[in-house]
Amino acid sequence: MSALLILVPFFSVLILNLPLKGIRKLAFGGAICLSLLQMAAVFIPDSAFWKINPHAFGSIFSFELSADSLSKVILFCIGLVSFSALFATRQTLKESAGRFNFINIILIAVAGMNGVALAQDIFSLYIYLEITAVSSFILIAFNRDILGLEGAFKYILLSGVATVLMLAGIALFMLIAGSTSFAVIHAVLLNHNKDFLISLGIGLFIVALFIKSGLMPFHGWLPDAYTAAPAAASVLLAGVVTKIAGVYVLIRILVSVISFSPAIKSILLFVGALSAILAAIAALTQSDFKRMLSYSSISQVGYIILGVGSGSVLGIAGAALHIFNHAAFKSLLFINSAAVECQLGSRDIEEMGGLAKQMPVTSLTSIIGSLSCAGIPPLAGFWSKLVIVIALWMAGFRAYAVIAVLGSILTLTYFLILQRKVFFGKPNAEFKDIKEAGFSLTFPALILAALIIGAGIFTPFILNRFILSFNSILGG
């Protein structure tokens, strides 16, 4: 029955495009309901809903889908970020025909991402990843302005190369295991660990996923694509698409298919640390609001990979928690940047200043988002970063734990710079008539901020249970 998470968005798109009068107006409302239902559905207790159900639809169709804790975290993030992105479209896309198409494409992207979260087979993973990628291409190029088209083209080329590498890995796995399902490949790989073909397949897969996550040194496409995309698309991309496409698939592959080996762990730790630090340094030098946020995203993904690289249950739980936190605070920050861009018409932070008085809601929520990203207690980001640092320390990777903490300090630095330049400091006379952004951009900001604060307060109570639920993922 979890196939509903893929089928419902898909059928909604079909229904919304029927030639019935007035059905187009349902698009926004319907999509919002879907995202809320998705967030609620994650809390359905472990029952037949989530297990593989081969004869779900009267033995005509059989879909191999199943979900564990990691998938549920991702599914919740997808619902949350699509909720925010949908609201952002109301304000930033004025023309209603364009907005209708945008919402439809978001629904297709959601169907694709849900498929990635639920798939139990590496080839199905590939297809649903492509669905997500194709929707992202269209969303980035949506306004058909030259920057958006350039960003989309770079993304298409790099994502295409990553796809080809992933398919090559799939071909090698199929050669060795005779099947593309997770369980079969896992069983076969346990017997064959040192073979050249297997290492090649694993290597190709990992490189492909590094490119898709935007980790350094394969991050070339990410800042351009995020910055050039229309605001609502950036929210979706930064909040969840790259996390799904890169990080979640990487964790899923490592955990369910190939097991951790010291070589893999050291590669992950190195690449993660490199991205976390270098991207944070790059963020310090940016003058475009969205570009700074994009480098911040690369840096946070580096954190998540550091957590995964520790190879322990604690590390993976910390990484999953950080995926959720990043979805929350990065979407919030991108919505704030959309609000600022919408009202001011510019993204150059050097020109801004003193907006705290004129845009109080945006300013306040952006402070909460920034502090959560930097890992300041009691906000949610603190807990996930703490878990990752502890996991690294306990796994014996002391140097990396120190690097992680250093990265947090850098993060705090560039966010303080951002805050000072945009919301505090001397106001620019040019922008003295700016008012707060409309409801569609302040409402999701407030919800996300409340969620971050609430998660920050409640995490210590549920942390134990959360981490324990990941025990089963790593094979107990």
């Binding site: 298409i156 398919l167 071909a171 199929m174």
Partner: protein, 97 residues
Amino acid sequence: MLSAIFVVLLFIIGIYCIMASYNLVRALIGLEILIKAVTLLIIAAGAKSGHLHLAQALVITVIVVEVVMITIAVGVVVGIHIHNNSLDVRKVRRLKG
């Protein structure tokens, strides 16, 4: 296996083409060649391991996905041409890496 060597050669041709071309369409052709290389790899892997039917199902799906991706890429290229009036990659540098 013999075809493996040629798959690698095709890979190299594709990547070299993407990196060295000055024209957007030629870069897409390079991507196409990469996809052909991987198609050959999947079929060869299927033939060698006796799972040819699975391999064919995979290849058919990959071809469908590839068509959609190339269609969208072509749409983006046409859009760039409308703006720049040229397909020169060197002119597509407005975004700083």
